[in-house]
Symmetry: C2
Subunit: 429 residues, 2 copies
């Protein structure tokens, strides 16, 4: 029997999630067992980018969380209320909850998880931090065998976008913010982002998972990026730093009795893994014993990325619901029955780099170009880079080409009177 979802909210993330769940080809087969049973919206008349039959859509959110047929409530409304109350009602009614709501979880997590544990249901929140980046499940599973020392994250895309542009353009904060608002990368009221509050919600959640205890959101120090100037960015660069808004959670002292959990703009040496995380991308760096340093990087926001995280949580719950008997959990087992077809390397389509040594400088570039052209190989650049003794050295980079065609052209070029040798052939990403 299909697992029935009651989705609360059909904004950007809700629409992305419905789109993903309606288009199951090539995704995990367990998604077949999911039914979009109810979707709660604010207005029935608003235009939607997804098709849903009229009996699925309702404005009565209370009815969804109280409907005995609903197995999983997917809360994608955001905000503190009514999201909190609806989640608590769903939990009390024995429903599992999947949520993207970092604000509600970071503030009411204690209440929500206590209720969930009493009711014996899951509350899943992969989408609450880092958009599509798998970080919540890795912290609960793969990384949880480590003693975590530090979690450092670029967890707010808006501020990272602003800082990246200030860095590359040498612009002022106010100008970049205004432009970011115009382009839709920042909200009309940017407070939650630029003052570090959103990052504060997220580092609270990560700290709670990494350090295995609740975090009082009010204890988290949050300093935003309004006071970061282009002057500081320029000087930092001269000193070998970039400025990033980081959420940081770490043990403060040797006996591990206290944590430091905080958000502030931070100079990061340019060779640090987080220094090159630019634009709206997010990254979370985890340091622990014995694993050392691990970094998870990806799109921190956006309909598709966040829908991926929401859908993966739904999948995890569905897998758990399907495995209350001692059968292998389908997310852990491998059940492949068929072999994938693997193409021979000659069928590969890629760019190439090749280096030629030529006896004849004058006409050789023309001859190369003509020969490549005959095999459909188009050149992105041709550089005569220098000499090796009597021989002229030529480097070419191609556009995408079928490897078999490129090799045929090379074989012909190899036979040319004017070509001494082809010392290097490499593929280009």
């Amino acid at each position: 029997m299909a697992v029935k979802l009651g989705i609360l909210g059909l904004g950007t993330v809700g629409t992305g999630t419905v789109e993903l769940l309606q288009d199951k080809l090539g995704r995990h087969p367990l998604l077949q067992e999911i039914e979009i049973y109810r979707v709660g919206v604010r207005s029935l008349t608003k235009h939607r980018d997804v098709e849903l039959s009229p009996e699925v859509i309702t404005t009565d959110l209370e009815a969804i969380v109280n409907d005995p047929a609903v197995d999983i409530v997917v809360e994608l409304m955001g905000g503190l209320e009514p999201a909190r109350t609806l989640m608590l009602t769903a939990i009390k009614n024995g429903k599992h909850v999947v949520t993207a709501n970092k604000a509600a979880i970071s503030r009411f997590g204690a209440e929500i998880f206590t209720a969930a544990n009493e009711a014996g249901v899951y509350v899943m929140l992969e989408a609450a931090v880092g958009g599509g980046i798998p970080v919540i499940q890795p912290l609960k599973q793969s990384l949880s065998v480590n003693r975590i020392d530090t979690i450092i994250g670029i967890v707010n895309g808006t501020t990272n976008y602003i800082l990246t542009r200030m860095q590359t353009e040498g612009s002022d904060f106010d100008d970049v913010l205004a432009d970011a608002q115009k382009l839709g990368y920042a909200e009309a009221d940017p407070t939650a982002d630029v003052d570090g509050l959103d990052a504060g919600d997220k580092i609270s959640i990560l700290a709670s998972l990494g350090f295995d205890g609740r975090i009082n959101r009010d204890d988290v120090y949050c300093e935003g990026i309004r006071q970061v100037t282009k002057t500081d960015i320029a000087y930092s660069a001269k000193l070998g730093f970039v400025i990033k808004l980081l959420g940081i959670a770490q043990h403060l002292d040797i006996d591990n009795s206290q944590l430091s959990v905080r958000v502030h703009p931070t100079l990061v040496t340019t060779n640090h893994p987080l220094a090159s995380i630019n634009g709206v991308y997010n990254a979370i760096l985890v340091e622990g014993q014995p694993i050392g340093q691990v970094m998870l990087f990806g799109p921190g926001a956006g309909a598709g990325a966040t829908a991926s995280a929401v859908a993966s949580d739904i999948l995890n719950v569905v897998a758990a619901l399907k495995t209350t008997t001692p059968k292998p959990n389908p997310l852990l087992a491998c059940s492949h029955q068929h072999y994938c077809q693997i193409a021979p390397i000659s069928e590969l389509v890629t760019r190439f780099y090749a280096r030629f040594l030529s006896k004849d400088q004058a006409g050789v570039i023309g001859k190369l170009g003509t020969c490549f052209g005959n095999y459909g190989v188009s050149l992105e650049s041709v550089v005569q880079t220098g000499f090796q003794g009597e021989l002229a050295e030529i480097v070419v980079v191609t556009h995408d080409v079928r490897e078999g065609d490129f090799r045929q052209a090379l074989a012909e070029i190899q036979g040319m009177e004017s070509i001494d040798s082809i010392p290097s052939i490499l593929r280009v990403l």
Copy 2:
């Protein structure tokens, strides 16, 4: 009742795993329920870095996989045989298997997983690819709701170490290889690494998970780095590329009927996320719909990192064994009962960057230094960077300092006659 492990092999990874499991403080509480019941070794007389009671250690590996008391066989021997036969026997006997053996899984995966599915047991392999990086579970779970387009990995630390040194030092392959062998970064027989075979095993496994089908290891094209010269690295750099040994798995054509799975040295533009993965680090880049681009980065080898992956697989199986009743899976639920203590920001110990505007150029650096010294603030660098009108501008970077002490020093400096203002205070990672 404790879950009983039979560990096969007590080399680097085996020792790291035993160390982790013997030292449970601060790790996932479920590790308490694990007992190291038997450890199979080649020689009983060899010195060991871990303490195990004599009745735990045995040279009879057959006896371990046939012992009815063993719940999970942890295969850390490596190599094709007897690892394959021992795993198959364990599976036939209804035992779960955790393995780090990429060679055996990439070649005998079909046989091993078919047997496991028939027996209803798990075969877990997080440690087989990317050392400690969580990549196998994310591919099975979080990322599996996506339609995967491409998986690109730097999955062999030895070759990445060699290429990185060739790049930074302008050295030849043979010289760097010889040095890497001396330093223990390359094996005496480096074939599996430098000829791309190890990377081939790993990209086969990743392709199988990402594209949801078996991969015939013999179909995977493997080209190593022996032919990469310092000349090519230099020219590539001029063209804006670095050379990386990549394992690549992707759909070859639009109708997705064929995959390309291959390993070869590849030019990567310097601004590509994989271009800055240097030394023995590994990284796996996954592109899918709708998630976009996600990268997982970390230590690709080493006792601690690999032990982390092995232990996380053991944990996953133990969690599954403990949840054959409809109670929440402890890896998915949150059961925190206590609040973490969060230190106030003044207790933070960090480096700082501060910028001062001063009316008095002559003695001000001395005054700053003295004042900081009085509060125990030691300076890493002091730079007089220029002028703003009549005012001299001074930037300092401190060593680690308690924030409270630093703020007290700043308050005193703020009051100095010669100081106009302190426009910027930032923390340094």
